[in-house]
C-alpha cells in the first residue's frame, strides 16, 4: 500500500431487518433505529442506520485492505455526517494518505446515493 493508492471498495446494502439485528447484536436500544413511528415523531424521515454500524463498514474495508487480520486496525476516527438508511447501498472508498510512524494512514468515506454518511474517517493500519 503506497501513498495515493485506493483501497478496495466495499459495497453493502443493509436489508430492511438489519437495524433490528444490529440493535440486538450491539445492545443499542435507541428506538430511532427500529421504530418507524418514533423516528418520525422526533423529526426523522424514518428509521436510520446506527452510525456505529456504518463505522463498522469503514472498519471492515480498512481491515480487509490490510490483509484481513483484525489486529491490523490500530486506530479509527470518524465523523458522522448525514443519515444512513436501510435498503440503500453503502459504498466505502479510501485512499492511502501517508505512512506515519510505521503505520499506513487511510482517508475513508462512506456514501449512500452520493451523500456522505461518514466523512473525514482516518484509519491507521499495521498489516500483520
Amino acid at each position: 500500500m503506497q501513498t495515493g493508492d485506493s483501497i478496495p471498495e466495499v459495497k453493502i446494502t443493509p436489508d430492511a431487518g438489519l437495524t433490528k439485528r444490529y440493535a440486538e447484536a450491539s445492545g443499542d436500544p435507541n428506538p430511532i433505529h427500529v421504530d418507524e413511528e418514533f423516528a418520525k415523531n422526533v423529526g426523522l424521515p424514518g428509521c436510520i442506520l446506527h452510525g456505529l454500524y456504518s463505522m463498522a463498514q469503514v472498519a471492515r474495508a480498512n481491515t480487509a485492505a490490510a490483509g484481513g487480520d483484525p489486529r491490523s486496525l490500530k486506530r479509527l476516527a470518524v465523523q458522522f455526517r448525514g443519515m444512513g438508511f436501510p435498503e440503500q447501498e453503502i459504498t466505502v472508498t479510501g485512499t492511502v494518505k501517508e505512512e506515519r510512524k510505521g503505520r499506513i494512514v487511510v482517508d475513508t468515506v462512506a456514501e449512500q446515493n452520493g451523500n456522505g454518511i461518514i466523512r473525514n474517517a482516518e484509519a491507521e493500519l499495521e498489516p500483520v
Binding site: 453493502i12 438489519l18 439485528r21 444490529y22 440486538e24 447484536a25 450491539s26 445492545g27 443499542d28 435507541n30 430511532i32 422526533v42 423529526g43 426523522l44 452510525g51 456505529l52 454500524y53 463505522m55 463498522a56 463498514q57 472498519a59 471492515r60 481491515t63 484481513g68 487480520d69 483484525p70 489486529r71 486496525l73 490500530k74 486506530r75 479509527l76 476516527a77 470518524v78 465523523q79 458522522f80
Partner: protein
C-alpha cells in the same frame, strides 16, 4: 428536522468519572455481532480458525468495542443527557485499539464525561473511555462525541 423547543443543556456534570462496568465476552455474542456487520472472517466464529491465526479463542472484530463498552457507556450517557436522549445524534467517534479481545475475556470499561459545550444551537457531550482486560492490559481507548439538537 422538526423545530424543537429550545432546552438548555446541563454542563454541571463535565468532569464526572462514572463507575467502571464489566462485560464477559462470549463467543456467541462475537459471532452475532460479526453477522450483523458482515464480518466474514472465520476467526470471529470458529475457535480452531482463531487459534490457527494466533488467538487464544474466537476473536472479536475491532468494532465489537461498542458491545463490551455498552454497560459503562449506557449509564454515563443516560446520566449526562437523560431526557434529551431522543434529540441525540452521534457526531464523531475515535477508537485506538491495543490487545485483541477474545471469548472468555472479561473487559472492564470506565467512562468520563470529558467535555460539555454548546455551539450553533447544539449541545456537545464528549465522553472518553478506557477498556482493559482481566490481566489489566488496555484493549481500547475511545472518544465518543454525542450531539443534542435544539438547545
Amino acid at each position: 428536522m422538526t423545530n424543537l423547543p429550545a432546552m438548555p443543556i446541563d454542563t454541571s456534570k463535565q468532569g464526572t468519572t462514572y463507575d467502571a462496568a464489566e462485560f464477559e465476552v462470549e463467543a456467541a455474542r462475537i459471532s452475532q455481532y460479526a453477522d450483523a456487520v458482515h464480518e466474514e472472517n472465520p476467526v470471529h466464529r470458529d475457535a480452531e480458525a482463531a487459534k490457527a491465526a494466533g488467538f487464544k479463542d474466537v476473536v472479536a472484530p475491532p468494532m465489537f468495542v461498542v458491545v463490551y463498552s455498552a454497560p459503562a457507556m449506557g449509564p454515563a450517557i443516560w446520566d449526562a443527557i437523560g431526557d434529551m436522549l431522543p434529540r441525540m445524534v452521534h457526531g464523531g467517534q475515535e477508537f485506538v485499539w491495543a490487545e485483541p479481545v477474545c471469548a472468555g475475556d472479561t473487559i472492564t470499561t470506565q467512562a468520563t464525561l470529558a467535555e460539555v459545550y454548546e455551539k450553533d444551537g447544539k449541545g456537545f457531550f464528549v465522553f472518553e473511555s478506557v477498556s482493559k482486560n482481566q490481566d489489566g492490559d488496555e484493549v481500547v481507548r475511545a472518544t465518543w462525541t454525542n450531539i443534542v439538537r435544539g438547545v
